[in-house]
Amino acid sequence: MRLLTHNMLSSNIKGVINGFPLRIEVEKVVEKQVDFNPDFLKNMFSKIDWKALADASKIMGYAELPEEVPDASVLDSDEFLQKFHHALLELHLEEGALVCPETGRRFPVNKGIPNMLLHEDEV
C-alpha cells in the first residue's frame, strides 16, 4: 500500500465519525521505484491531506516532507516534487495494519493489500 492510498482511506465502521487518518502500524516497508510524472503530482497535490501524508511518511521512515501545508508555488521546485513523489508513490507498506483512530479496529495490510472489509456487526 502506498501513501497515496493511505491518504484516501478512512475507517467506515458504522457510527465512526473521525475515521481519518488511519494510524499506520509498520511491520515491513519496501521501496519500489515508480516513473516520475510531474503532471500527475501537481494534479494530486490539491487533493491530498497534507498533514496525514507528512505524518504517515515519517512513520514509514521518511522525514523529508515539510510539516506544514506547503504553498502551491513549491510545485515549481523539482526537488520538492521528487520528495513528494517518493513519499506519495514509492513507499509501500508491505506488511502491517491500518488502525481506526476512534475504535482501534485494525485493518490488516498483507502483501501490500489493505483489507478494508467490515465485519457483519460493523456495517
Binding site: M8, D49, N115
Partner: protein, 480 residues
C-alpha cells in the same frame, strides 16, 4: 478536411464512439466545449450505416493520424485522391486532384507501396498486380518498398455485390484511391490476448474490448483510472498500456492479494507487459467504500465491468445481517475478531449500478468519464432501454455487443457534467438505506441469471405463434 475512414468490420457499435472519444482526447472539440462532442460523418452513396466505409471531417491530418494510430477499430484513415464507379472515372478524379496535394508524396527520394484492398471479396494476386500497374498515370518518382514504405497508397474497391459479407448488397461499385494517414496497431491484441495472460479469472475482460474501454475512458499519462471491480486487473492493464496510473478494488481478497502464487497475481499481469504497477490494489466493498470524508474529484476515469449476476454475481458486506428474521443479528465474539472472515450478501444489479453512479459522481473530476458495461435482455430487434441516469452525468455513447440471442451487454460512456451537490449526496444516502432495508425484495427483482439461462424465456411457444415468419433475422449486424 474530409478523410475516408475504413473500420474493421467488427464491434460495429463501438467504432464511431471510439473515434469520437479519441478526437475529444486529441483536442478536436477544445475550441468549442459546448459542442455535442460528435464529429461530422458521411456515408458513401448507397452504403448501409454498418458499412466499414465512412467519411469523417477532421481539422487536421495530424489529429487524424493520432486518432487512427491509437484506435483499435480503425483499419485506416485515408486522404482520398480520387473516387469513382469505374477505373476511368477514378483516373479522371485522381488526375484532377490538386498537384500540390499529390507531388510532396511522389518525390524521387521517397519510398512507397500500393495496397489493393476490397471488402467482402478477395482479389487474386494477378488482378492486384494489374490494378496497380493501371495506376501508372500517377507520376510516382519514388522507390517501391514493400516492407517499410514512407507512404502507403490504397486502392480500395467496395464492390461487394453478390458477395456474402454480412451486409445488404451495395448497388454501385465504388473505387477509392488514397494515401494512408494512419491506422490501428492491431498487434496490440495478440500481445495482450488473454490466452497468454498469466493470471486469469472467469470474467477477465477480452483484450480488444479492454482497449476500447480504455479509449472510451481516454486513459493517458498523468491520469488516474479506478476500477472498483478489479478482479485480475484485465481492464486496468489496457489503461496502464496507455500510460494512466491505475487503482483497483475488489471484495474478494483471494483475487487481489493472493492470486495463484508469487508470480501469478494481479501485479504479475502488469509486470508481464512491462507496465507501470497499479498505484494501489485494495480489498473494499463498492457498497460501503472506505474513502475518507471530504475526498472527492480524484479520479479521471472509472472503468469497470460490474458483476451483474449472469456469469458472476456481485457480493457486498452485511451477509447474514441482512437476512432479517431468518437468523438473529450477528455479533463477532471478541476473541474471534482477528482473522474473522465476514460473510457477504448477494448484490443486486440495481444496487450495484446505484453505488457505481454515486461513487463516480463524487470521485470523478468534472469532465471525467465513467465507462461500464450494462446488461440488457433482448427480445426484439431494436434496443429500447432506459439506461441508468444521474443528474451529474451525460450519457455520450452506448455500444451494444450481443452475447447471445437473449441478452447483450452495452458499454455505456458517461461524462461528468455537474458538481456533486449536498442534495445529490443526501438522495443517494436515502436510496442506499432503501436498498439495505429491502435487500430481499431487490434481490428478487431483475434477476438476470434466471432470465438468461431459464429454458422457457423466449421459448419455442413464442416462435410457433409467429409461424411462417423466419425466427432468425438474416441480418443482425451487431453479431459481428
Amino acid at each position: 478536411m474530409w478523410y475516408l475512414c475504413v473500420f474493421y468490420h467488427r464491434l460495429l457499435d463501438y467504432r464511431k464512439p471510439e473515434f469520437e472519444s479519441l478526437a475529444d482526447l486529441f483536442g478536436v472539440f477544445d475550441d468549442n466545449p459546448s459542442s455535442s462532442h460528435s464529429l461530422e460523418w458521411k456515408l458513401p452513396q448507397h452504403h448501409h450505416p454498418d458499412s466499414p466505409f465512412h467519411f469523417v471531417n477532421l481539422p487536421s491530418e495530424d489529429i487524424a493520424r493520432k486518432i487512427a494510430n491509437r484506435s483499435i477499430l480503425v483499419k485506416g484513415v485515408y486522404e482520398i485522391w480520387g473516387e469513382g464507379s469505374s477505373y476511368e472515372e477514378l483516373k479522371e478524379a485522381v488526375n484532377s486532384y490538386p498537384d500540390d496535394r499529390k507531388l510532396p508524396y511522389l518525390t524521387p527520394d521517397s519510398t512507397f507501396r500500393i495496397i489493393v484492398d476490397s471488402f467482402g471479396k478477395a482479389i487474386s494476386f494477378k488482378d492486384q498486380t494489374s490494378r496497380i500497374q493501371g495506376m501508372s498515370y500517377i507520376p510516382f518518382k519514388g522507390r517501391v518498398d514493400l516492407r517499410n514504405p514512407e507512404h502507403k497508397f490504397w486502392l480500395i474497391e467496395t464492390d461487394d455485390y453478390e458477395s456474402n459479407n454480412g451486409l445488404p448488397p451495395i448497388v454501385d461499385k465504388r473505387i477509392f484511391f488514397g494515401r494512408e494517414v494512419g491506422g490501428a496497431d492491431r498487434s496490440l491484441i495478440p500481445t495482450y490476448q488473454l490466452k497468454s495472460r498469466t493470471y486469469l479469472g472467469p470474467t477477465a475482460m477480452d483484450a480488444e474490448v479492454a482497449f476500447l474501454m480504455a479509449n472510451q475512458a481516454q486513459a493517458m499519462p498523468g491520469k488516474l483510472v479506478y476500477d472498483p471491480f478489479v478482479g485480475t486487473g484485465s481492464i486496468l492493464v489496457a489503461a496502464a498500456h496507455f500510460g494512466a496510473m491505475t487503482m483497483g478494488a475488489d471484495i474478494d481478497i483471494r483475487v487481489v492479494r493472493d492470486g495463484r502464487g508469487p508470480d501469478c497475481n494481479v501485479w504479475s499481469n502488469f509486470k508481464q507487459y512491462g507496465l507501470q504497477m497499479p498505484v494501489s490494489l485494495l480489498r473494499a466493498d463498492n457498497n460501503l467504500p472506505p474513502w475518507r470524508p471530504g475526498l472527492k474529484e480524484i479520479f479521471d476515469a472509472i472503468i469497470c465491468d460490474p458483476p451483474y449476476g449472469v456469469r458472476a454475481g456481485g457480493r457486498k458486506s452485511g451477509g447474514r445481517k441482512l437476512l432479517k428474521g431468518v437468523v438473529g443479528p450477528y455479533t463477532v465474539p471478541d476473541d474471534k475478531r482477528t482473522g474473522h472472515i465476514p460473510s457477504t450478501a448477494a448484490y443486486s444489479l440495481a444496487e450495484c449500478v446505484h453505488d457505481l453512479l454515486d461513487l463516480a459522481a463524487k470521485m470523478l473530476v468534472l469532465g471525467g468519464r465513467l465507462v461500464y458495461f450494462y446488461p440488457v435482455l433482448r427480445d426484439t430487434d431494436t434496443l429500447d432501454v432506459d439506461f441508468p441516469k444521474h443528474p451529474c452525468f451525460k450519457l455520450i455513447a452506448s455500444c451494444e455487443q450481443m452475447l447471445s440471442y437473449r441478452y447483450s451487454r452495452v458499454l455505456l460512456t458517461m461524462v461528468k457534467v455537474g458538481a456533486y451537490t449536498d442534495e445529490i449526496e443526501e438522495a443517494a444516502r436515502v436510496q442506499h438505506l432503501e436498498f439495505k432495508e429491502n435487500h430481499v425484495k431487490w434481490m428478487e427483482e431483475g434477476n438476470l441469471h434466471n432470465a438468461v439461462f431459464s429454458s422457457d424465456f423466449l421459448g419455442s411457444d413464442d416462435l410457433d405463434s409467429k409461424s411462417g415468419k423466419d425466427p432468425k433475422k438474416k441480418y443482425r449486424g451487431k453479431y459481428v
